[in-house]
Symmetry: C2
Subunit: 601 residues, 2 copies
């Protein structure tokens, strides 16, 4: 059974991606891998999250009666809330430092109010009220940003509100002739797919955040779904959108499938992260509902050999042969995946691969979606080309297992963070030419940073709140010793303690998950015992990864977006002049600077 993409999950803003499960969802095999391979003893039970703050503990709202009145008048069919639970629920997205702070019991900054329009037509009035009363506006959809995109920063303004868009969740129009659907921007992934499925269609944009994220959030962050290799990323799926700005309404696109009427301004709104206006409706290209999936998995002798094969498939395969979901794990990710599924089938698989000369496999998963005849034909042709490039079949089971569990791994982060495990993901994308080098550099950068420990030469960034470390759960083990980076690029502290041979002090696993003709994404999960100051540890890893990414000429983010997390790296990515252009657009559309201050630029 593939995961049901129309299934809603209960909201769980305080507990990451899914509601807290007493006892936790950590599989015994995962516990064993953590203990035996990484020297991390996840002995403690998954801890319940600390109680939410009470109203008395929250700072008083900075909004005066006049401002509140103006906001309430603007959302006649909606609501303005200053309740503690509502304000807390809009204090953060899923940014790991925020989750760590929340779990430590630290009080995050909260918006002064949560404004929830009941109709898209009310948003212009909200923005006007915020300009009049000097209030910063943080557009808030699913709250699934992992880069601080919804952090309630007030900038230079008197107050800050979260503009919660999730009541705006209607299907406005479904055009079966054009194969397009217009939704209000606050609709979440499962509801969107449900509305389309009822009419026989799908969007096919299913990022890992799908169960909570909203369509407007996808657009605002230039998101890519797990099947973007087949369906295209959100920028390719959007045919039109409406952007409500403090300077007025922009209706972008929608007249034609293509146009030469000047620059395509849709692309200024896509990826704008709420800094120039609020995306209120989005029109997307839709496709017939998936009636069949064909799965395939293949092993390669190395990650680089696998990457060469999927490049050949992307560049020389017939159109459509590339699977819609195309994921190539590196050797470490493959090994950790197999280790968590040990048993007779995995033993058999290992033996089969060794017999074919593959000792440290890199596993490729493919899912072809569509109709039965179509997916089988595409799969057959792709398999032939992959085998010609050294692929060895690994049955269809690993791909089926991925599809079943596609939404569960982000939940694992929440579990692990409570038992002293530092775990997070980061990502980039690079051209094929630079892919292998980028992959090595980023993985080594992360390893070096984790190995460096809290005494590393590079001091951690200053942003860590001093109050946090003490509040981290007691189960945090002592910092583990060094894992040296590869021989080509030793970390600054390579002269420090000798490398332990077993167990390894961290895991840095990578994969390709979005494939293009001229390159691919790279996605990393790093796991280590949490240090006494886990936020400093996190920031050390991110700084090393960012430096490696930029030095490799790759992009600072393929699909997580910029938010507060990558804002410092944006000038290196698009140039100071590029940032100036974004600022000029912002001055025009948001002259008072109220829109999502502190994000992107």
């Amino acid at each position: 059974m593939a995961a049901d993409i129309t299934e809603s999950v209960p909201e769980s803003p305080w507990w990451g991606w899914a509601p807290f499960t007493p006892g936790g969802a950590l599989k015994p095999a995962t516990r064993a891998v953590l203990a035996e391979r990484l020297g991390i003893d996840p002995g403690a039970e998954i801890a319940a999250p600390p109680p939410e703050p009470t109203a008395a503990e929250l700072p008083e709202s900075a909004l005066d009666a006049e401002a509140l009145g103006a906001l309430a008048a603007a959302v006649a069919t909606g609501a303005v809330s200053q309740g503690a639970a509502e304000r807390m629920r809009h204090a953060a997205g899923k940014h790991t430092p925020d989750l760590i702070r929340q779990r430590s019991g630290a009080l995050l900054a909260v918006p002064d109010a949560v404004v929830s329009p009941g109709e898209t037509g009310e948003i212009a009035g909200v923005l006007a009220a915020c300009v009049a009363h000097d209030i910063a506006v943080v557009p808030f959809g699913g709250g699934s940003s992992v880069v601080g995109g919804v952090t309630p920063l007030r900038g230079a303004h008197r107050a800050v509100i979260a503009l919660d868009l999730t009541r705006l969740d209607a299907l406005v129009e479904l055009n079966e002739v054009d194969r397009t659907a217009t939704f209000e921007a606050g609709i979440r992934g499962p509801a969107l797919e449900r509305a389309l499925a009822e009419r026989g269609f799908t969007l096919g944009h299913i990022p890992q955040s799908h169960q909570q994220a909203t369509l407007g959030g996808y657009a605002a962050t230039r998101s890519a779904g797990q099947a973007s290799t087949g369906y295209g990323a959100i920028a390719e799926l959007i045919t039109a959108l409406t952007l409500e700005t403090p300077s007025g309404t922009l209706e972008l696109g929608g007249r034609a499938p293509a146009s030469a009427a000047g620059p395509d301004l849709k692309h200024l709104a896509i990826g704008s992260e709420g800094t120039i206006g609020v995306i209120t409706t989005v029109t997307v290209a839709i496709r017939p509902r998936v009636t069949a999936k064909t799965y395939g998995a293949w092993a390669f002798p190395s990650f680089e050999a696998g990457a060469r094969a999927i490049r050949a498939l992307a560049q020389d395969g017939a159109k459509g042969d590339l699977p819609d979901v195309c994921r190539l794990s590196d050797e470490e990710e493959t090994e950790l995946t197999l280790a968590q599924s040990e048993g007779a089938p995995v033993r058999l698989l290992r033996r089969w691969l060794r017999s074919r000369g593959i000792d440290t496999p890199a596993l490729l998963l493919g899912v072809w979606e569509g109709t039965d005849a179509d997916t089988k034909r595409r799969h057959r042709r792709a398999a032939k080309l992959l085998k010609a490039h050294g692929a060895v079949s690994a049955t269809t089971r690993p791909a089926e297992a991925w599809d079943r569990g596609r939404f569960s791994s982000p939940r694992l982060r929440d579990e692990l963070l409570t038992i002293g495990v530092m775990v997070d993901t980061l990502e980039t994308a690079a051209s094929w030419t630079r892919l292998a080098e980028t992959h090595r550099a980023v993985a080594e950068g992360i390893r070096g940073a984790l190995a460096g420990g809290p005494t590393a030469a590079d001091p951690p960034p200053a942003a860590v709140p001093a109050a946090v470390p003490a509040a981290v759960p007691a189960a945090v083990p002592a910092a583990v010793p060094v894992l040296g980076a590869g021989p080509t690029d030793p970390p600054p502290n390579a002269a420090a303690p000798a490398l332990p041979t077993d167990p390894l002090p961290c895991a840095v696993q990578g994969h390709i998950s979005h494939v293009y003709r001229y390159g691919a994404s790279l996605y990393y999960t790093f796991i280590a015992a949490a240090e006494a100051d886990p936020i400093a540890q996190y920031e050390r890893v991110k700084a090393a990864a960012n430096a490696a990414i930029l030095a490799s000429g790759a992009t600072i983010t393929h699909h997580h977006a910029v938010g507060t997390e990558h804002a410092a790296q944006l000038p290196a990515e698009i140039g100071e002049l590029g940032v100036d252009v974004l600022r000029a657009v912002k001055r025009e559309l948001d002259p008072a600077g109220i829109m999502n201050p502190g994000k992107l630029v």
Copy 2:
């Protein structure tokens, strides 16, 4: 034999798309069609163009010695020319009103000098000199704009130069692993394809202007090639570009095949028409050189039936089954095409189609490009689907004939304009839902405007120079009487003279030539006897077509761009606020406003 896309044609800026051919290239069959069906007697021989103006006839350059010196210093490896021939050669693109004026002997405005950098690195210095000396800059590539995009307007500035980029024609890098190629922006279509062909690749972007246009021009105008259905339009083919602006250099794209690092600023440069900077290098995605083409042609009982069939192919066919070149002519274009090829095969074809119940066929041409096995497989599957939608095979000959003659029809315009025939093309694109209605409205708008004659209720726009009409060649026949529009939307002058039954006073033929999942382009050729004031006639037609396009909710241009021609319609297309955004970007990158004034915004 398909047209050779690597073949250069001699430059012919003064004579439209190809050098003047004494005697002209008008086929007897075309003459017969004009005479018998349109009542146009192209009796006169194609006239030689009037002599080019001499230096003495040109206005004196407004550049003083100091400004000239600064320009010359900026282009150490290039040239600054004030020669009459050079200035005339940069006076206009291929905008029909300009061609009419040139052929009438009228003197067009000319730039004060032509500056031709020898290296891309010199462009920054040229822009600095122009800012310092208050000189407007018109970037000039192939000079193939049909919308006044290279008209040497000086705006509020002291002088204007044409910045000729055609010396910048190097292949900078070809990356066979990434399948990308970086070129200097001034390389023309055939030279670009030659450079790629030598290495086994193609860009596949072949607009009708290909033999003269440059890659930078493609990017600046958001161009679409004739095979864009398969290869994608230029916006999809560009992976990176460099934009030199008066405020500095923007390096856009190139780090990765996709990114979520804020809005994609490439899309601000693509379609910017020289108004914010000069595109100096462009990196494009390339594909293996075409080794086989498969052709197909089918007739449908009507244009609408054909449109339904290609929509089904675009939406429900397997990926790649849609032909790379996909053109569906309406009934009138089909009839005029067949009429120009009368003979035994066409008679046989007509009989065969009638036997299948098709009396007024709409002809679909398809070209599948790639390898032999691949194109045949795609063609076979597409043919099956098309037949299920009522297509009747019309042999492969019409598609082969189109491919042979793909560059010749624009040349016909130049011939016809000298013998009293008003002929031009215009285009739009619309969603499938609105396609048929848009097609009818635009065609009827054009017919009504041509029928209205110079005494129509709507006065022609005021921009027509009074000196021109008298200079039009003597062969211009008297204005022809009215052709009524269809019953659903009578033109304002429907109460005017009764409809003639034979011959028709004008031809308005349309086709789809770029197909997308959610809509298609619409391209029109209109032909009528030229009136005494052909520019007023042209502008009447354009005004009617523009009004019909905008009222239908379609785009004012699918691939011809904005230039001076559609600047007045841009606010209707993207909104006043959209125009404000473009202006804000321009203020940031071109604070002195020297870049291509009067175009786009």
